[in-house]
């Protein structure tokens, strides 16, 4: 049965309405620790959640999984430094000589009692983020000044934000007044066995190749702080694995999906290519 929240356009692309679309198929997610229990408890207690962790370690996948598990629609906002309060809350637009109010994603999520997931929150300007404060404490309200409304979030609404504490820039820190409103869940790359299982599941590779990919990941993670900002994430490994499963030569796949994806520094790329060459 076709989901009511979705339709297809003329090019057969599926269009979902994020404030009512429910994920039907269980996303593949393996718990690393007790993050699922923690999230469920926080959700039940109507507490907002902060996900920390390096890029590509499964934060977004975890959110999808939770949205599926809780059967709530999820509105994702990828934050950037031009994001304004109006982009989140909503704005008046002009339509045929009239002004029309259009809800922003945050407002839509609150109205529909879904999950609002603000991805990479530190990318947004600090003053923008103040708008989530009244939603993130026990008031759970959202004032919409321009409409003269005070929106109270239903119990099923949930606010989740994510950020990567690995960035060392002082400009990309979370304000204390923001961070102290959240229950924090820390993510890291899964332990070797688990990561191997994930890669094998995501790519369909055999254990030997998956292990080699893991070894490569470890090597790049050794380089973290020695010229690389981050080691290869589980996501990059999955990309490389998918290419290999399609019949791409492993060296070529890893060069494209790992070495070049990690850095632009030519010596570093050469060094990672040498590591790849040594492994495969």
């Amino acid at each position: 049965m076709e989901n009511v929240a979705s339709r297809r356009n003329s090019h057969n692309a599926l269009i979902h309405d994020p404030s009512s679309y429910l994920i039907e198929k269980e996303p593949y997610y393996v718990a690393v620790g007790d993050e699922i229990t923690l999230f469920e408890a926080a959700y039940a207690s109507r507490l907002p959640v902060l996900l920390k962790g390096p890029t590509g370690c499964g934060k977004t996948r975890f959110m999808e999984y939770m949205a599926w598990k809780l059967q709530r629609p999820m509105v994702t906002v990828s934050c950037h430094d031009d994001l304004t309060t109006s982009d989140l809350v909503g704005r008046y637009l002009v339509k045929g000589g009239e002004t029309v109010w259009v809800d922003g994603p945050l407002t839509r999520a609150v109205r529909s009692g879904g999950i609002c997931y603000l991805d990479e929150i530190v990318e947004a300007r600090k003053d923008t983020m103040v708008v989530i404060h009244p939603l993130a404490d026990d008031r759970r309200i959202m004032p919409i000044e321009k409409l003269g409304q005070l929106l109270e979030a239903p119990d099923s609404f949930c606010l989740a934000i994510s950020y990567n504490p690995g960035y060392q820039s002082v400009l990309k820190e979370l304000k204390q007044s923001t961070r102290q409103r959240f229950v924090a869940i820390e993510f890291d790359y899964p332990k070797a066995d688990l990561e191997r299982r994930i890669i094998m599941h995501e790519t369909g590779l055999d254990e030997a190749l998956a292990s080699k990919l893991l070894k490569l990941a470890d090597m790049t993670r050794n380089l973290k702080g020695n010229g690389l900002e981050e080691g290869a994430s589980t996501r990059l490994l999955a990309h490389a694995g998918k290419l290999i499963a399609r019949g791409v030569e492993p060296r070529v796949a890893c060069q494209g999906a790992v070495a070049l994806a990690l850095t632009d520094d030519s010596d570093m790329i050469a060094a990672i290519n040498e590591l790849i060459g040594a492994l495969f």
Binding site: T84, S86, D87, R91, Y92, L93, V94, G97, T99, R125, S169, L171, K191, A192, D193, D218, M219, T220, N222, L223, N226, G227, R251, D267, M268, A270, A271, I272, E274, L275, I276, G277, A278, L279, F280
Partner: protein, 740 residues
């Protein structure tokens, strides 16, 4: 007009070489050189003469020796490699003087013996950036790469030759270096040095022979390890071996050979293969098993003693003396360090011992209870060891993890005595702390370069850098009169007020821009007007939106202040006052800024004086340091620019400005720096800065500035102030023009 490409005549060469080598005074012979150079084509002649001239600026004898040998070398090597060889000799001269440099030049004879004919060699400088990262990616202790005359490791540093040219192709020479690096990594990773070299070979009458056999057997073991760990590299290593010694049974190159054992056997030392599947096979099988250790190697040693072991092409030398010396120093050091770190960890975790009065006698039982029990065990998740305190695994900080890895590599385990946290005062802190040497002491006693920054300097005659030529230290500025700044502010009261007003107006602020064609929100006023207009029949404006304009000056300024002796008196006074004015302006604008002074005597004593870092506030301490600026010695500018641009680049900003306040040309104490050399080096340093996105600018009071500043800074990037007293008045104005 087309330049003549006819070769130089013998007569011309004779004259030119006599002139170059100052034969009149040095009595060097040029006859042989002329004979060698005359038959060459013009291009090659130019190449040789060009390098002879460049080397001349380093040393006449080096240049002469080089010219004698270069013709021979040109037959065997690419020009690129020859250049690397010449530069290596010049570097060696800079570092260690004439004799070692001459050796480098002369060693080309022995070097050529090893080299492949017409080899496309690779130089250390080419492989180092890639391979040092490569080896860092392999697990284990952090290893560094260094240049050495031979390939070997002391278990911390991997030595590679300056030029590798054993293979024909550059690609293969690089692979050879990579294989050598990986092999040496394997030596440290798989415990090849967990041997007491002093006693283990005592039972053998011929120690050298035993060591050779040991190394050969260990090579077999390590190769099996590399095959398991880095199969891709192992394939390359086999190919290199085949290229080096074409095997009769195998296709000459490229062919993969057969899979499995036959292929492997084909590259075994022939002596072992010669034994057939008997003893040799057994030895090999035992060494290749995944659980083979260095003890197996030692046990098997008597069986193969006296055989011949043709070395692998990628096999490094074994240098037991270097390894033993390095390991002894490290193992003692790391034990102390690890125990001290454990004590710190225990304290952090609240498991440390209670404060006991030092003189209180403790009962035996109490004493035994005191140290918290650390334990090291196999990590449950497969990777390495984990540290356990009272049955709970703890996550050690990164440096402790590194330390554990290193200890594991040396000992094969973490010995129990390492796991006892150090007691208070058990070790003298000097044993484990890096000694903080007082910068001032450097000049009192024997010179040392520890803790200083080393910078290369551009030698325009050589057309290349002198490596690590300048030794620079950061020195804290002695605080001056704290009331000084207030005094200046008072003196220029009117100007300060004016400046504040001007720059206040310049300060960009967040503001709402109304009536925009695009924007975040509808501008209701504009809309109402537009609707009225449209009812009225006039044209409706499309500027109906409002937008938040966000101010981001996003500027970082580094002020580099000349503290040379020549600034004594008025100039110094003006500089300090100008700094006070600038600080006023910068504080008003909210731009990020840092101030450093520079001075020094000679290349080994370059000094940077800290006045204000980017993250420091303009507070009483900073003001006192500004007051404390005094004339010191000389102005070796290049190194100061290099150091400060590095600091500037650490700041995240859209625009980075490096402003120099100077009173004259770069110069140094009776040094080549007073010549064109200094100007060229400064120019080069500014080029480097510009390449990283820095905008350099110079404010000078030197009337002759126009003779050299345009050459160094470029035409629009400097300004001359004719009257010193005006410096404080003008500097803010200059800054305003620069940044708007």
């Amino acid at each position: 007009m087309k330049a003549s490409r006819e070769p130089y005549t013998a007569a011309f060469l004779w004259e030119r070489l006599e002139e170059l080598f100052e034969v009149e005074f040095t009595f060097l012979k040029v006859e042989g050189l002329v004979v060698a150079l005359a038959p060459l084509d013009r291009d090659t002649q130019d190449f040789i003469l060009g390098w002879a001239v460049r080397l001349l600026s380093t040393n006449l004898y080096i240049s002469h020796e080089f010219t004698i040998r270069v013709v021979d070398a040109l037959d065997r090597l690419e020009r690129r490699v020859i250049e690397a060889w010449a530069l290596h000799a010049a570097d060696t001269f800079d570092r260690s003087g004439l004799r070692p440099a001459l050796e480098v030049i002369q060693q080309v004879d022995s070097f050529l013996l090893n080299a492949h004919a017409h080899a496309e060699g690779v130089t250390f400088a080419e492989v180092e950036p890639v391979l040092s990262t490569f080896v860092c990616g392999l697990a284990g202790r952090r290893l560094t790469l260094a240049q050495g005359e031979q390939v070997y490791t002391d278990s911390e540093t991997l030595f590679l030759p300056n030029i590798s040219a054993q293979m024909e192709k550059a690609k293969d020479n690089f692979l050879l270096c990579k294989a050598q690096v990986a092999f040496m990594w394997a030596q440290t990773r798989f415990g090849s040095f967990r041997v007491d070299f002093a006693t283990a070979f005592a039972q053998y009458p011929d120690r050298e022979q035993a060591l050779a056999a040991f190394h050969a057997l260990d090579t077999l073991r390590l190769e099996a390890c590399l095959e398991r760990e880095l199969p891709g590299l192992w394939r390359d290593m086999q190919r290199l071996e085949r290229l080096n010694t074409p095997h009769p049974d195998l296709p000459p190159q490229g062919g993969k050979g057969q899979e499995g054992i036959p292929d492997k056997d084909s590259v075994l030392p022939s002596s072992l293969v010669g034994e057939g599947l008997g003893m040799g096979g057994r030895v090999v099988a035992r060494l290749q098993s995944p659980d083979a250790t260095i003890n197996d190697v030692l046990a098997l040693l008597p069986e193969v003693l006296g055989m011949a072991f043709p070395p692998r092409v990628y096999q490094p030398r074994l240098n037991p003396e270097a390894v033993t010396a390095c390991m002894l120093a490290r193992m003692g050091q790391e034990k102390i360090l690890f125990r001290v770190k454990l004590a710190e960890l225990a304290k952090e975790l609240g498991k440390g011992k209670e404060e006991t009065p030092p003189n209180l006698p403790l009962s035996g039982e109490e004493q035994e209870k005191l140290p918290p029990e650390f334990e090291a065990r196999e990590a449950q998740q497969g990777e390495g060891m984990e540290l356990v305190l009272e049955d709970k695994p703890i996550a050690p900080p990164e440096d402790v993890k590194q330390l554990m890895t290193s200890i594991m590599l040396d000992w094969g385990e973490i010995p129990p005595e390492f796991l006892v946290p150090a007691g208070d005062g058990e070790y003298d802190p000097a044993l484990y702390q890096k000694e903080e040497k007082d910068v001032e002491d450097v000049w009192k006693g024997v010179y040392h370069e520890e803790g200083a920054f080393l910078y290369s300097e551009w030698d325009h005659a050589r057309q290349h850098y002198r490596k690590n030529w300048c030794v620079l230290r950061e020195i804290e500025m002695t605080a001056g009169d704290p009331a000084y700044v207030e005094g200046v502010q008072e003196k220029y009261q009117g100007l300060v007020k004016h400046l504040r007003r001007t720059f206040e107006a310049m300060r960009d602020e967040n503001r709402l821009l109304k009536r925009q064609a695009q924007g975040d929100d509808v501008d209701i006023d504009a809309l109402v007007e537009a609707l009225a207009d449209s009812r009225d029949g006039s044209e409706m404006s499309d500027k109906l939106f409002q937008q938040m304009h966000r101010a981001d000056r996003n500027l970082a300024v580094m002020l580099m202040v000349d503290m040379s002796g020549s600034t004594k008196g008025w100039i110094n006074e003006a500089e300090r006052e100008a700094l006070v004015m600038l600080c006023e302006v910068l504080e008003t604008l909210g731009d990020r800024y840092a101030i450093y002074g520079f001075s020094g005597i000679g290349r080994k004593r370059c000094e940077i004086y800290h006045i204000k870092r980017f993250d420091e506030r303009y507070d009483a301490a900073t003001k006192a340091r500004i007051a404390g600026i005094v004339p010191k010695d000389y102005t070796r500018m290049g190194v100061a620019i290099r150091h400060l641009s590095q600091k500037l680049n650490e700041v995240e900003a859209k625009t980075r400005l490096l402003i120099t306040l100077s009173d004259g040309k770069p110069e140094d104490y009776f040094d080549i720096y007073n010549t064109q050399y200094g100007i060229e080096d400064t120019r080069q340093a500014l080029f480097e800065a510009r390449r990283t996105g820095i905008h350099p600018f110079c404010i000078t009071i030197d009337r002759r500035g126009k003779d050299y500043l345009p050459h160094m800074y470029g035409h629009a990037n400097w300004v001359e102030i004719d009257d010193v007293k005006k410096l404080p008045l003008k500097v803010a104005d200059i800054y305003r023009r620069l940044t708007t």
